[in-house]
Amino acid sequence: MDRAVIHLNVADFAVAVERVVDSRLKNRPVIIAPEGAARSAVYDMSNEAFLAGVRKGMALRQALRICKDAFVLPPHQDRYERAMKAFFKHTLPYSPLIETGEGDGHIFMDVTASRRLFGPPMDVAWRLRNKIRKDLGLDPIWSVAPNKLVAKVATRLVKPTGEYIVAAGEEENFLATLPVYFITHIEKDDLLRLSEFDFTKVSQVVSLSMKQLQVLFGNRSRFLYETVRGIDFSPVLPAEKSVPRILLDHEFGDDTNDIAKVESVLYRLVEKSGKQLRHRHLAARCLVLVIDYSDGLRCIRQKKADPATANDMALFDLAREVLGLAWFRRVRIRHMRLICDRLIFPPAHQLEIFPQSFEKNRRRISLMESIDSIRSRFGNHAIRVGRTIACQ
């Protein structure tokens, strides 16, 4: 049976939430950016500001030069998270398969099996949009499509308002006329490679055979072949069982820019997540670090763990690198979130070519096993890493 996936997308989510809080902001250009910081960047903007030329990540000073009458607001992450929760709650009665983004106003719902109960998917989407508009004051764009990929591209196409229905079997025709950059799943490197060959439209990429794509993209060819044809089998995950990952937060009592203190907290987060990973016999393939600066700006960076690991020391090395990427502003940090993502069962130990690194890894594993065994017998505080004591 064809799937029916609804994608709800509140365009410019942060601005939409701010407009609910303060109705005076309606119909005027709004920029969300931390104020006061010398080099603060645009976090989000309203459609009016976008049309004037303001873009995410642009320096606020430049944005205000382009859009002089814009109203500037600092980011309020707590508001966005609350709004996202309420948004999510409204969708719950319609399907058990609901997947949300990271407080960004995106929700996927698989209503394939709910049709008998609630009627045609497009009617569910329309009613839901009306209810959300009435109850929350948010006006989501909606689309109905046979999979997540096409549903997401469809809402992107009609942004900032509207709806789009892509019938089953229409996926390829729907995507064919679009520029390649419109396909959300295609990454920057692939776009660059495509542009080198002057492939700007999806229809041009569709004309390439699998073999031709293999020459250009190697092991990415299968993914591209399917993506440009609107093939996407990825499921909408159950609401109560979103992507399996470990998420840990730390709120600094006082905003800080003390590197030792930040690294110490980071190590403690790594320790906790490492413990959970080992307890669940899992390993992380990706580390994500979310930093909230004291001026409200949020920065998210991630790095791939190769090979996947659950070892504190290996995780910390990686976490430190991610911290370096995320903490690029001379602004104090208020909140830090560490996410161990893309969890897998640990890969089989492969013999290393260079015995030196093999020996180092073996020692690390052995050390972690000893620490875990001491902690399980005498408690978590029985043995601690010096780094975590330093900040106390």
Binding site: M1, A4, P146, I165, A167, G169
Partner: protein, 298 residues
């Protein structure tokens, strides 16, 4: 696809060509109900539907502005003799923005142009919400909308009973616009079921079902969960339909009680009854179709 039999229509009736179909055809639950073979993908439902019916009412165009390319692909799945009616988009009936609706009407005209060109569009159905009553503001809007959509074959369905007025019928008659006859539950405030024909070219009937409990439930699955009995259909065929047939050149009828495939079942029963009483001609189908009486194609 169909071959006409030698049987002539009843000469006591003027030659009115009737078409019976359903409101929408892409319902996954119709496979459970046995209308579509199990596992029929949505993209392959229309060809199966077209084996049994010669017309369909497209209701997705109420949710989304029609797109020429999509309609062209859709039309190509059925025979050139297959006919469509399409609902007018909600931004022109239910969610009208005063500053934007003219543009929307123009976009709708562009979107539907493919079916007009191919001669497959029987009518555009403008269905107004229950709160759209006959007050000056709404009358003015309606007049402006009809001017804007001039040239498109239109059928108007009102849900508020205040529109059941001779002056409304007269104006529709003057403009040669079809007023939709509805079969709904007997509830206060609903537009009555009238056999008034305002356009001698076409009459249009929508059978919504008579589910009194579910009608105002806010859920389509309850509102349109109704099964017409054979007795009720027989009465409709011999009464309402027979009477309207005498007043128009063509007539279209749609069952909107889509829940659990009841619309398709009722539509097929009505077709067989209309054939029996001589209002439709019996035709034979190709080998690929089921031995079913289907409406006349020319």
């Amino acid at each position: 696809m169909y071959a006409q039999t030698a049987k002539k229509p009843d000469s006591s009736h003027p030659a009115c060509r009737l078409r019976v179909g359903t409101s929408g055809y892409s319902y996954a639950e119709w496979a459970d109900a046995g209308f579509y073979p199990a596992g029929t993908p949505a993209g392959r439902m229309l060809p199966v539907y077209a084996r049994f019916f010669c017309i369909v009412e497209l209701n997705y165009t109420w949710y989304q502005m029609p797109k020429p390319q999509a309609l062209e692909r859709l039309a190509s799945q059925a025979s050139p003799n297959f006919r469509f009616t399409a609902k007018l988009t909600r931004s022109l009936t239910h969610e009208v923005e005063p500053a934007q609706w003219c543009g929307e009407a123009s976009r709708y005209r562009d979107g539907i142009s493919v079916l007009i060109q191919s001669g497959q569009l029987m009518a555009v159905l403008a269905q107004f919400p229950p709160n759209f009553d006959r007050v000056l503001k709404n009358r003015r809007f309606l007049a402006a909308l009809l001017d804007e959509l001039d040239g498109i074959p239109l059928a108007m369905e009102f849900r508020h009973r205040s529109w059941a007025h001779d002056r409304v019928f007269a104006e529709l008659e003057r403009r040669k616009i079809t007023m939709v006859t509805v079969d709904t539950p007997s509830l206060p405030g609903l537009f009555p079921s009238l056999d008034v024909v305002t356009n001698p070219e076409l009459f249009y009937i929508r059978f919504h079902g008579r589910n009194e409990r579910g009608w105002r439930s806010g859920s389509m699955q309850k509102q349109f969960d109704y099964h017409y009995t054979d007795e009720q259909l027989f009465e409709l065929a011999n009464g309402l339909v027979a009477k309207m047939t005498r007043q128009a050149r063509e007539g279209v009828m749609f069952f909107n009680n889509h829940v659990r495939g009841q619309a398709a079942e009722n539509a097929r029963t009505l077709i067989s009854m209309l054939v029996e009483i001589g209002l439709m001609e019996k035709i034979t189908t190709t080998k690929t179709t089921q031995p079913w009486t289907a409406p006349l194609f020319t």
